[in-house]
């Protein structure tokens, strides 16, 4: 069921739901903060036919139907920026479907080893640095396409292939937890995707993960 109580219509595999008009009218806020590469998230949403607003205006974020929290960069700088603008409180209080991406996932966790940073604590999960025992075999950052495994039965993962490839670029990872709905193996298993209540978070870059990434984003828009 959708948030307005109407049943969801059928979706095409790897595509937009047929109820495009509902999505077109949807208000999507992409949180603006000092993180790089927000542009590619906006373009990916544009390819799905929806318009998103890049904003740090609390009113606009509160009024949005869906909120996306992208990110690339360094954790402590990002947290400081969010706190200065009181966006940390806003994110913690948000009630609508919320999607953290990459650094966005890490900031939704409890603590990051990156400059010993206290994060937002939505997910009671620790974020650690990859430490390879054998640097020939495992390089850091973890860059490239890797598989999501052990996919839970979750609306965000609807109609995905069994072990889909997604594009990763990161040096820190969230540990496995009760909130992990898909995991990836690199050096060890880590949380590829997390879910708790209205909060979803993806460590990979769905905006750069081909058709699988588009499906993840469109699934999120349909939640």
């Amino acid at each position: 069921m959708t948030e307005d109580g109407r049943p969801k219509t059928e979706e095409r595999h790897f595509g937009l739901p047929s109820s495009v008009s509902r999505l077109l009218n949807m208000k999507i806020a992409v949180i603006k903060y000092n993180s790089g590469n927000v542009q590619s998230v906006l373009y990916a949403l544009e390819r799905l036919g929806v318009n998103a607003e890049l904003t740090d205006d609390p009113e606009v974020i509160r009024a949005a139907d869906k909120v996306i929290f992208p990110g690339q960069g360094e954790a402590s700088t990002a947290m400081r920026y969010l706190k200065e603008r009181k966006l940390d409180q806003l994110i913690s209080d948000i009630k609508q479907p919320f999607l953290g991406v990459c650094l966005g996932l890490q900031l939704l966790c409890e603590h990051s080893e990156e400059n010993d940073t206290e994060c937002l604590g939505i997910f009671p999960v620790k974020v650690n640095r990859f430490v390879p025992e054998n640097s020939q075999e495992f390089k850091v950052p973890h860059v490239g396409w890797n598989e999501l495994e052990n996919l839970a039965n979750n609306p965000l993962l609807k109609d995905l292939p069994a072990e889909p490839f997604v594009y990763y670029v990161h040096s820190f990872y969230a540990e496995l937890s009760d909130y992990t709905i898909a995991q990836t193996h690199y050096i060890h298993d880590f949380s590829g995707i997390l879910h708790r209540d209205n909060y979803y978070a993806i460590q990979a870059h769905p905006e750069k993960s081909g058709l699988v990434g588009e499906k993840l984003l469109s699934n999120f828009l349909c939640i």
């Binding site: 790089g36 542009q39 373009y43 990916a44 390819r47 640097s135 860059v143 490239g144 396409w145």
Partner: protein, 251 residues
């Protein structure tokens, strides 16, 4: 399992693809946006755009092109050519590039690697190294391989890694254009010594060469231009060959 990446490279001059391409699907073989879309749809893991004009007055055209490509494709792409300042990087990232590649400017002013990594994160800083073997020693060359430097390739690779580069794109000028295979020995030496991924470039001619560069060359990714543009090797067939050869690859 993390897969090896196949990366087509487009050489761009004044907003058009050069080196010639013969994609039958293309209405206009020189349109980099159409070509990028085809590679993306065919399963390329990333794209590299190399702006070979790269003069100041052409940068605006490049940024507009980057935006068009970023809107059209759903895989990562790197833009290189003539980038030397933080401002250059900002413009290209805002236009939609995911990573930038620097080469001559890093040799001229190595501190720029630290500065760019600090400003934008290591993950978007690729340092391209053009190397040529001179009397048994590998030396870094700049300006498209024309200018020799006194930097030894292995030492420079280690230095750019230490300065915060996220990836190295290593092009062997001795192999480039020969279609006789990648410089696996040098690649293996550098890839084993470094903690960051190495993209191999120069020498791709057959599908076996790709298999060799991932096994003997220990490369994390392989880049090629003309063999893809001229359809000598198709990305889907290359990927199924590699997969059959037990190379970890995204299908």
């Amino acid at each position: 399992m993390l897969t090896k990446r196949i990366i087509p490279c487009l050489d761009i001059k004044e907003g058009r693809t050069v080196k010639g391409v013969n994609f039958v699907e293309l209405r206009d073989a020189g349109d980099p946006v159409e070509l990028a879309k085809i590679y993306s749809d065919e399963g390329a893991d990333e794209l590299v755009f190399l702006d070979i004009t790269a003069t100041v007055d052409k940068r605006k055209t490049l940024a507009e092109l980057v935006t068009k490509v970023a809107k059209a494709i759903n895989i990562p792409f790197t833009v290189g050519g003539g980038i030397s300042t933080i401002e250059d990087v900002k413009v290209l990232l805002n236009a939609g590039a995911d990573k930038i590649s620097i080469n001559s400017s890093a040799v001229k002013n190595p501190q720029i690697i630290n500065d760019m990594a600090a400003e934008f994160g290591s993950q978007c800083v690729v340092v391209a190294i053009d190397t040529r073997n001179v009397d048994g020693i590998d030396f870094v060359h700049t300006h498209g391989g024309r200018k020799a430097t006194l930097l030894k390739t292995q030492e420079w690779a280690q230095e750019v890694c230490d300065r915060g580069a996220g990836e190295i794109l290593l092009t062997s000028m001795d192999h480039d254009g020969t279609k006789a295979g990648f410089s696996n020995e040098l690649l293996a030496e550098i890839s084993s010594a470094l903690s960051i991924p190495v993209i191999a470039s120069g020498g791709a001619g057959t599908m076996t060469h790709f298999k060799d560069v991932f096994t003997f060359g220990k490369a994390d990714a392989a880049l090629a231009a003309s063999i893809f543009h001229f359809k000598e090797i198709g990305i889907p067939e290359l990927k199924s060959y590699l997969s059959d050869s037990e190379i970890s690859i995204r299908k």
